[in-house]
């Protein structure tokens, strides 16, 4: 059981795709002008990630190691095409916002990275949990980046969330002020916010580990 616990902890925090592995930087910065876009991109990636992990893990004994990368990519591309068409059919308004970037999930190095470094070496159950944890951690990071950028750049949070989650979630849409720093929703804002969030995570973790080592030292003494 602790193995699964470790997988979940890795995916959500310690080895988070954005803040731990620094993978998938393209979607992490290109689509996170609003928190809603981050949420949509994160969820779409999670679906692909879970499915890709399951498929790769279940065929892992059949794949010759020399050609594994092309095989993984073809699998991922197929899944992305399915997600792309499904979004276009059922969430068309969101698709108009995210459409350009959905296709880019294919080349999202995070997903290929999980196939290569985890799913091809682990059981189907473990890979499913890993895909889910990694995907949710990715979604969480994208919402964090998108939320900060949206708040500073246009003074709102979760604008147009009803397009993604249905009219019932319109209460999420918050407006704090008009205007805002345009720079934050332009590409430089993505780099600036990501940099500061990574720095904040590091500061927080180093403080926590310092505290932990103090507690350990006192309890040992």
């Amino acid at each position: 059981m602790s193995r699964y616990r470790q997988i979940v902890k890795d995916g959500l925090w310690d080895n988070n795709m954005v803040s731990g592995q620094l993978l998938a930087m393209c979607p992490a910065m290109a689509v996170t002008a609003t928190a809603t876009n981050g949420l949509g991109m994160g969820l779409a990636s999670t679906v692909v990630l879970v499915a890709a992990n399951i498929l790769v893990s279940s065929i892992r004994h059949l794949v010759p190691s020399a050609v594994r990368i092309p095989i993984f990519i073809v699998l991922i591309a197929t899944l992305v095409t399915l997600v792309d068409m499904a979004l276009n059919a059922w969430l068309h308004d969101l698709y108009k916002v995210l459409g350009l970037f959905i296709a880019l999930i294919v080349v999202n190095c995070g997903i290929l990275g999980r196939s290569e470094s985890f799913a091809s070496k682990s059981t189907v159950a473990e890979s499913t949990v890993d895909g889910l944890a990694m995907g949710l951690g990715f979604t969480f990071a994208l919402i964090a980046i998108g939320g900060v950028r949206e708040l500073l750049g246009s003074g709102s949070l979760f604008a147009q969330a009803h397009l993604l989650l249905g009219p019932a979630f319109a209460f999420l849409e918050m407006k704090f002020f008009d205007g805002g720093a345009l720079l934050m929703i332009l590409p430089p804002g993505g780099f600036i916010v990501l940099g500061f969030l990574l720095a904040a995570k590091r500061v927080w973790e180093s403080r926590r580990s310092a505290r932990a080592s103090v507690t350990q030292a006192t309890s040992a003494a």
Binding site: A181, L182, L183, P188, I192, F196
Partner: protein, 351 residues
């Protein structure tokens, strides 16, 4: 002294504080002239920018546990704030000044490791970020309202305007030369018609026209630059490179297509060209180390400025040009290394 412990074991005798003081001395006449031209709003804006820059410097030094008040007094933060203030529209609201100082000091300087570590010119990072984020506030130009002439705001009224905002009276708003020709060109009116419409006042050298706080008094900028050259704070390479980089393409372009490309004289006297060439591009931290590198760096800034002004969406591009060339400085320094005494030319390894 520690500084002489490393080769070449000789110290030039200049301290950070001494260099910063010289630059501030050189900036004083043109800043006072800017205060006179644009009145009390300019004074308050300058005070706010410099004050908040020093405050953010103190906070960042404390956060990084680096130096403390002694480092604050080296003047580098005050100078960055000062330069930023000189590039702001003189009637800008208080939060432009404070946010600009925050970007310059906290983001562009201390996030990279503090004094001497920043690859990009802090004042220009702040100006570019403000211009992109708040295009309206950053292009609100006014005609000069000299102190004591009775045309501008009194000291308290001006403070109220800076702190609580309020519209700039229509009678005072005015366009800069570069902004004017860009707007007119977008309406299909070419330079042959739009430049004479402004009269000769926009390039009079004295600076009695709309513009940023410190960029209009051309003669005083030249005097300040000459002072820095004499004190050997800067060398001639970067200013000459920048001005040549603007003037040469401008002269050629104007000769070929006078209806769409401004003359070299206009390019040199309008906008931030002079102020930037002497005071901004010459920043010691973010410019190349060798003479040839400095000339190349200056030419690049000048040429990019001319290109942005002539063909891009923004009327003025000096800040963007400086930032782009800042990014090239490591590569310039790598390929224009001086020969080490006793060795042949350094072979560039492919790594």
């Amino acid at each position: 002294m520690n500084a002489a412990a490393h080769a070449p074991h000789a110290h030039g005798g200049k301290s950070i504080r001494g260099v910063m003081t010289s630059v501030m001395l050189a900036l004083t006449p043109l800043t006072l002239w800017g205060f006179y031209l644009f009145g009390w709003t300019a004074v308050w804006l300058w005070l706010l920018t410099v004050g908040s820059a020093m405050l953010f410097e103190l906070v960042c030094l404390n956060l990084a546990k680096r130096g403390g008040p002694a480092s604050l007094l080296d003047g580098s933060a005050a100078l960055a704030g000062w330069l930023l203030a000189l590039t702001l529209p003189p009637w800008a609201p208080w939060w432009i000044a404070v946010l600009g100082s925050f970007i310059a000091i906290a983001v562009a300087k201390h996030a990279y490791g503090g004094l001497g570590q920043n690859p990009f010119n802090p004042a220009m990072v702040a100006r570019a970020a403000l211009l992109v984020s708040f295009p309206l506030e950053m292009t609100q130009w006014v005609s000069p309202t000299p102190l004591l002439s009775g045309t501008g705001l009194g000291a308290l009224e001006a403070l109220e305007h800076v702190l609580f905002g309020g519209a700039v009276p229509d009678a005072l708003t005015s366009a800069t030369l570069l902004g004017h020709v860009k707007t007119e060109a977008s309406r299909g009116i070419d330079l042959l018609a739009s430049v004479p419409a402004l009269g000769g006042g926009l390039a009079d050298g004295v600076g009695r026209h709309a513009g940023s706080l410190g960029e209009t008094g051309s003669w005083l900028i030249l005097a300040g630059g000459a002072f820095l050259l004499v004190r050997r704070i800067i060398t001639w390479h970067i200013p000459v490179g920048v001005l040549a980089g603007i003037a040469l393409p401008a002269a050629i372009g104007h000769a070929v297509d006078p209806a769409h490309l401004l003359s070299a004289q206009h390019h040199l006297t309008a906008g931030a060209a002079l102020l930037g060439a002497f005071f901004i591009a010459t920043d010691l931290v973010t410019s190349p180390a060798t003479a040839a590198g400095k000339i190349l760096y200056g030419l690049g800034i000048g040429f990019l400025t001319w290109t942005i002004r002539s063909f891009a969406g923004f009327p003025e591009g000096f800040a963007f040009a400086v930032l782009l060339m800042n990014a090239c400085v490591p590569i310039i320094d790598r390929f224009l290394k001086p020969r080490i005494y006793g060795h042949g030319r350094v072979q560039m390894s492919p790594a």
